[in-house]
């Protein structure tokens, strides 16, 4: 009995940790829960340290943690922004010796500026605010040998350039469940600490911009549809991606558990600021009563070799309902290594609530397009950092041989491996379907059909040989062939009623598939006809379907030159980047 007591206590703790957080919390309550949770931890982390200062709980330990973390700096721009945010927020509560010690870090620590868009946003925003903090100091006081004013000017120029590019030709590292926080936090920092009121306004507008971009493709804590960069574990289990921390804090707490708080540390950096999400964006993130389609244009990251232009456009299409969301990019190499071209995300808040396919392509040409090192060794160098680049079972990848065509809940994916060069690998696609399904079958016509919560899907594989591996989390299909076509249908209770109605309706869908010309004509579940001639011939109901739309084009978000118009019901919020004004109607 004596031994059972600790066990029972532990079980009670585990049970309470597994509890779903109350679902009627407002932002302020979630914010408070998050900060308290981290303030009570004792880990060497800036998030913990910042939470302690924000709640004024355990300040001595906050000082100790900060001292430890800055004593042996590493992490480049990740160190820069986290340490600086903590310092700027808490400096009044820090002892003088610690402040001096931290100031010296900016002289002695030599961070790498990085090679991605999110790296540069973190680097230059941190440098901007550091140069603002320690004004009028000469180059000998700074790690890069430049004076405070030189660093400030350079950073300000780049931040302005980034805002201009993002709001005119689109973001390069767009809609990334992994990297969204690393664009948001620097904007939070500018919003909170920039002395220049215009810079603060720009930061506020960019926060509204990035949050709107997320909100419109948000479902059940997930960032759904196509992404520029998605790590495999985030792709498989999107509720666990870092972006979900911001869904929890700003959109909704639906389905999140107390244990989830442990992985929301990045949101502490937002929670301590005075930024409040405009109601209109909150509504866009959570109102799923009426299904809607949404289009976006982004840009390819800088193509340094083998491209016709530096930043070709990326066209993104997403269809969002209460029960599920399905979204896609147009296919092709739009980002190296971690592209996530399409998915269905179910509103069921359990684990692995997604379906997608990927061609596990890799090549020295693909990475050579974006990275300057020697091409022969680039795949190896990428694998040293990312582990799975050359793995045939990987779950994130771009492919020059993949093309997609989506309209509403229907998506066609085509893979032409006949075009592959002999040295290129692999000639198969991987399809992820989660094990957690309420229903799963392969019917006599060949449809793979399933149900997850109130979301339904049907998938037809044309061309190729099918293999199926079943493990604890997935039905993993591998399709081998020269020319493979996937037809994906998605639906939900709101649109189709019960699951059986959806299953029956699938039988009415018809297709003609010509593997020689590599063309598919498909009469869809919703009655429209899609004709897809690989690679770029897209026709809808007999009309050419051009990929040619603005940065945002949907009911909730529309862009005009230099402006983003955010709408929900009769409300409007206009972010005018030309005149630097926020207009509410």
């Amino acid at each position: 009995m004596k031994n059972l007591i600790p066990l029972l206590i532990s079980l009670c703790i585990i049970w309470s940790e597994r509890e779903t957080l109350a679902d009627d919390m407002n932002f302020e309550t979630r914010r408070e829960i998050l900060l308290k949770h981290f303030a009570n931890l004792n880990l060497p982390s800036f998030a913990v340290c910042l939470a302690k200062f924000a709640t004024e709980h355990d300040l001595d330990n906050g000082v100790k943690i900060f001292d430890t973390l800055i004593s042996n700096p590493s992490g480049d721009m990740f160190f820069m922004f986290q340490s600086l945010m903590t310092y700027l927020y808490a400096k009044e509560k820090m002892p003088e010796w610690l402040k001096q010690k931290y100031r010296n870090v900016w002289k002695t620590y030599t961070p790498f500026r990085g090679d991605t868009e999110n790296h540069w946003v973190m680097y230059y925003v941190s440098l901007y605010l550091a140069a603002q903090e320690w004004k009028n100091q000469d180059g000998t006081k700074w790690f890069n040998g430049k004076s405070s004013s030189e660093n400030f000017k350079e950073s300000e120029e780049w931040i302005n350039k980034w805002i201009e590019i993002t709001t005119t030709i689109g973001q390069g590292e767009f809609d990334s469940p992994r990297y969204l926080p690393f664009f948001l936090i620097p904007m939070f920092m500018l919003y909170e600490f920039a002395e220049d009121s215009l810079m603060r306004l720009k930061a506020q507008m960019m926060l509204d911009y990035l949050f709107s971009d997320y909100a419109v493709e948000h479902l059940a804590g997930c960032y759904c549809g196509g992404h520029s960069r998605d790590y495999p574990y985030d792709a498989l289990n999107p509720r666990y991606a870092p972006s979900s921390a911001f869904a929890f804090l700003y959109f909704s707490d639906e389905g999140f558990k107390k244990t989830d708080l442990n992985r929301f540390g990045i949101a502490v950096f937002a929670a301590v600021t005075s930024y409040r999400l405009p109601d209109i964006i909150y509504h866009i993130a959570t109102d799923r009563e009426v299904p809607y389609e949404h289009k976006e244009r982004k840009r390819v990251r800088n193509v340094i070799r083998f491209g016709k232009e530096r930043n070709p456009p990326v066209y993104k299409y997403t269809y969002v309902t209460k029960d599920y969301c399905i979204g896609s990019l147009q296919g092709g190499v739009l980002q190296p290594i971690q592209q996530h071209s399409w998915d269905i995300t179910f509103s069921d808040s359990g684990d692995y609530n997604t379906i997608f396919s990927v061609h596990p392509y890799f090549s020295e040409i693909e990475v050579g397009m974006f990275f300057p090192e020697e091409m022969k060794i680039l795949p190896e160098l990428v694998d040293r950092a990312h582990k799975v680049y050359r793995n045939p079972n990987k779950w994130s990848s771009s492919s020059p041989y993949e093309r997609l065509f989506q309209y509403k809940g229907t998506l066609i994916a085509m893979y032409d491996f006949k075009l592959m060069k002999p040295v290129e690998r692999y000639r198969h696609i991987n399809i992820f379907i989660p094990r957690i399904l309420d229903h799963f079958e392969i019917d006599t016509l060949g449809w793979i059909i399933g149900k997850r919560g109130n979301g339904y899907f049907g998938m037809r594989i044309l061309g190729g040989m099918l293999g199926l591996e079943v493990d604890s989390i997935s039905y993993s299909f591998k399709v081998y062939g020269d020319r493979i076509c996937l037809i994906v249908e998605s639906g939900g209770k709101v649109e189709f009623g019960d699951f059986n109605s959806f299953r029956s309706a699938l039988k009415s869908c018809s297709f003609e598939f010509d593997s020689v010309k590599f063309v598919v004509r498909y009469k869809s579940l919703r009655g429209f006809e899609m004709l897809f001639e690989y690679p770029e011939g897209r026709f809808l109901n007999g009309e050419k379907y051009d990929l040619n739309w603005a940065l945002f084009d949907g009911n909730y978000l529309k862009s005009e030159v230099g402006a983003l118009i955010i709408s929900w019901r009769d409300k409007k919020r206009i972010l005018n980047f030309k005149n630097l004004k926020i207009i509410e109607e």
Partner: protein, 340 residues
Amino acid sequence: MLILKLILLILFVFNFSTKQHHSGRKIYAVVLISGKLVVGVKNPISGLFISEDAGKTWEHRGWQNIKANSMAIEPDSKGKVIYLAAGNGVLKSTDSGKTWRIMTDWRITEVLKIIIHPEDKRKIFIATPYGVFKSIDAGWNWEEKNRGIRPEETGTTSSTFVSSILIDRKNPRRILIGTENGIYESLNEGEQWKELALIGIGIRTIVQSPHNPDVIFAGTEDNGIFRSNDGGRTWEKVNIGLKGLTIYTIAFDPTNSKIIYAGGYKTGVCRSNDEGKSWFCSEEGLNGFNSIHSIAVHPENPNFIVAGTIDGGVYISRDGGKTWKFSGLEGTLVWTVVIE
């Protein structure tokens, strides 16, 4: 007393022989990456390393992780003024690498090569994946010099991927650049570029013979080595004996025009004794690190050769490339080696 004299004699002979080999010249090794580079975590140290004892020991100078690609030493500065071409831009030290300043701003990144004009040390050219940039004030200000190679003019972003620059010794206003789309030429110090040769081929290095300025070699991606005898106007493939066809580096014996060294992806170190007509490649002593990214030949003792390997650090040969011995910087990708 006799023993003491003997010791002194040994020390004198040793010192003399060492000096004969490297004449007190420093060896510089620019390390791109030590093993792996993951941005945002603690990585093993990379960057600039200097040896002052003919490669026996190496000392790190300056920044720890900036994806350093290459370097240039200002002539007559006795190694005090060093430029480093790196991911963060161009770094400059005026105190032999003790302190550094980043000379470029956000407009310039991923600098692959840097070269100082032989007639005016204030004029500096850099090669980047975004084209050529030029400074006329020793690095304080930079201007993009991409007229003629911009993607909108050539139809490909490969033309601005510039990985090497050569200032023609015979006519220093003439500059050749090696791009991912062949070789381009400027006759006015980079103000305007035009196609010269090997269009469509990725160029990894271009070098001019110290014995005859009309002789130029180009190392390429997948196409081996090309030689021109007329200053770059016409080229011929000279690949006999090469073990691989991706060539990153070509270096000349300063005293014998017939001897040339080359290295590349899985080639070992290749030596030509007939002005590049044929090659003999050796891996003896390289411990399997047969991808060579940079070779430097000692100016006074041409049998003393330094090779920067991919993943294996620095190797040194004292017999004109026949055999190699590990020098240091184990596990690193040594992008450039320079003998002062």
